[in-house]
Symmetry: C2
């Protein structure tokens, strides 16, 4: 049998548990040229909330009744006819929140899990790592000596952004929720400073940690934090708009009231979507893996167990009850 | 005697007449190395409102008691000792709203008013022209075939932006206030379409005039117009933040609530200040003059008379009661 999480109710605001329905269905029969993947790990990402909205974003919205969209890592357990994948291969793709996925293999790629633990392909060597790499280097265009601020800094993307900025020779300040996450940034990841946005002194803390202003801001959060950062940007600053997790469950968005700071400072605010860099993923993976091997880059995966616990785990995306990449082990 | 307009009351919201005080003082004695300029024309610009605020912007705020800051064109009528300017030279600089300016000449440059009417050096061959030129070409990076929208389109900057975009081979839509200004854009300047924002159908009109979306938006206005434009930008769009005249007299700013459209569309919003291009002004003037001579670029100056009428004329900056560049003739 195949446990599948179906998306059944479009939420307004923060989703309730009834947005999804866990069902058991027959493991599907394979058509010619298809493989069956037994999923091991499911990626939980803030972007999931956006996919649940009815309006078109950078990908089409989810339809009611669909299996909940998610990145996955799993093992090929069956094949019907010759295929680019062999039984036993570990593969990653958009398998969705379900135990078994039947696919022709399009959009999947084979992983090397001899050397690299499989969950890493959903974090630093997967989409979050790619997002961090191209966002901070290609859009943020960081240079040694610059002051870089990143929000959502203890998360899968933000933690890699900050470490890449450190490797590049920047001064790095991370914004995260809670004292433990802040400690993680400065003591384990080597950030120069961390700001606990929950402490309620955002404005003062930004001033204290960035007395000479901010050259590059990598924004995962939006809302009030973006607005305060805008008051402290330097000339020719770059703001990378990667996400706005503080806004995903809001029905009325908090806008960047201080956007005219872009004018005064000849600064730039630019959006990015990682899929645009698909052709260069290979280069990024090679570089990130090299940094990890050299001990310059750390990756943390926060793994919870059981497809039944999807909702509780999903909620951790939004309440700072996790550190690093959030993953569900559904074996 | 020298009539001078002093800035005496810092306004909140739209300035009342008592923000300024018109006084008569002695024409100052020249020190060694100074010249006396009899000002002919004073430039009136939306940016003036920003200079009256206490907070630092891209230039220091004005101090109370100062002569009102303004760009000017005037004639050198006296010199004390040898000088780069001769008596009789026409010169442009930051002379302020006053009939006579005494200066060592720093920041002034000599004009060729044999061939070119003097007021043009405050419009298309002056700061507004420079702003349009570098803003739309260097920041907007327009390409032939793109859809370009410009707000404040009947103004000194916007009208040049639109015409440069037409010369480049873009489809150009101007947003202006009032039917007459819109007629001016399409019938006299050759814009492809014009939207009267006062007609109250901004959203529908944008949809109708830009059915396939917007590649470049040159924003002089901010507020609601920027926010609606954000809903219609295309992939890799560029938004040039040049000004926000709709906001200059507001105490609470209207923010770009739809800024996440930058993310979805991998788009960019970037501020610009013309002074950064000072070293290239000469090239821009040459190109703009060539276009004018070839009949490809029109310049309109809306000239009012009398330093006593400063307040009434200043008000025209904000109520759409002008077309083209607003200038005060104070001879």
């Amino acid at each position: 049998m195949n446990k599948q999480l179906l998306f059944v109710n479009r939420p307004s605001g923060f989703p309730q548990q009834d947005a999804w329905n866990l069902v058991e269905t027959e493991v599907p029969e394979l058509s010619e040229g298809e493989v069956l993947i037994r999923q091991h790990f499911v990626s939980l990402d803030p972007a999931m909330r956006g996919w649940m909205n009815a309006n078109r974003s950078y990908v089409p919205p989810m339809e009611l009744g669909e299996v909940m969209r998610a990145g996955t890592v799993g093992e090929v357990v069956k094949a019907n006819g010759p295929h680019k994948f062999q039984v036993g291969d570990m593969v990653s793709g958009w398998g969705g929140v379900q135990q078994y996925t039947c696919t022709n293999g399009k959009g999947y790629h084979k992983l090397n899990t001899q050397k690299v633990p499989a969950p890493l392909y959903l974090s630093t060597l997967g989409m979050p790592g790619m997002t961090a790499y191209f966002g901070i280097l290609d859009v943020g265009k960081i240079k040694p000596g610059e002051v870089v601020v990143v929000s959502g800094a203890a998360g899968a993307v933000g933690s890699v952004v900050g470490q890449i900025a450190k490797i590049t020779g920047c001064r790095v300040v991370g914004i995260a929720g809670g004292a433990e996450n802040c400690r993680y940034l400065t003591e384990e990841l080597g950030f120069d400073a961390a700001i606990d946005y929950k402490a309620g002194n955002l404005r003062k803390d930004l001033k204290m940690t960035c007395p000479e202003g901010i050259d590059v801001y990598f924004d995962n959060v939006g809302g009030e934090i973006l607005d305060w950062v805008l008051t402290r940007i330097r000339m020719n600053a770059r703001i990378v708009i990667c996400g706005a997790i503080s806004q995903y469950n809001e029905t009325i968005a908090k806008e960047p009231a201080n956007y005219l700071s872009l004018l005064v400072n000849r600064a730039r605010m630019e959006g990015m979507v990682v899929f645009d860099y698909a052709r260069s993923y290979g280069d990024a993976v090679a570089q990130l893996a090299e940094w990890m091997q050299a001990g310059k880059l750390q990756s943390r995966e926060d793994i919870y167990v059981g497809i039944e616990n999807f909702y509780e785990t999903f909620s951790r995306l939004f309440n700072d009850q996790k550190t690093g990449k959030l993953i569900l082990d559904i074996r």
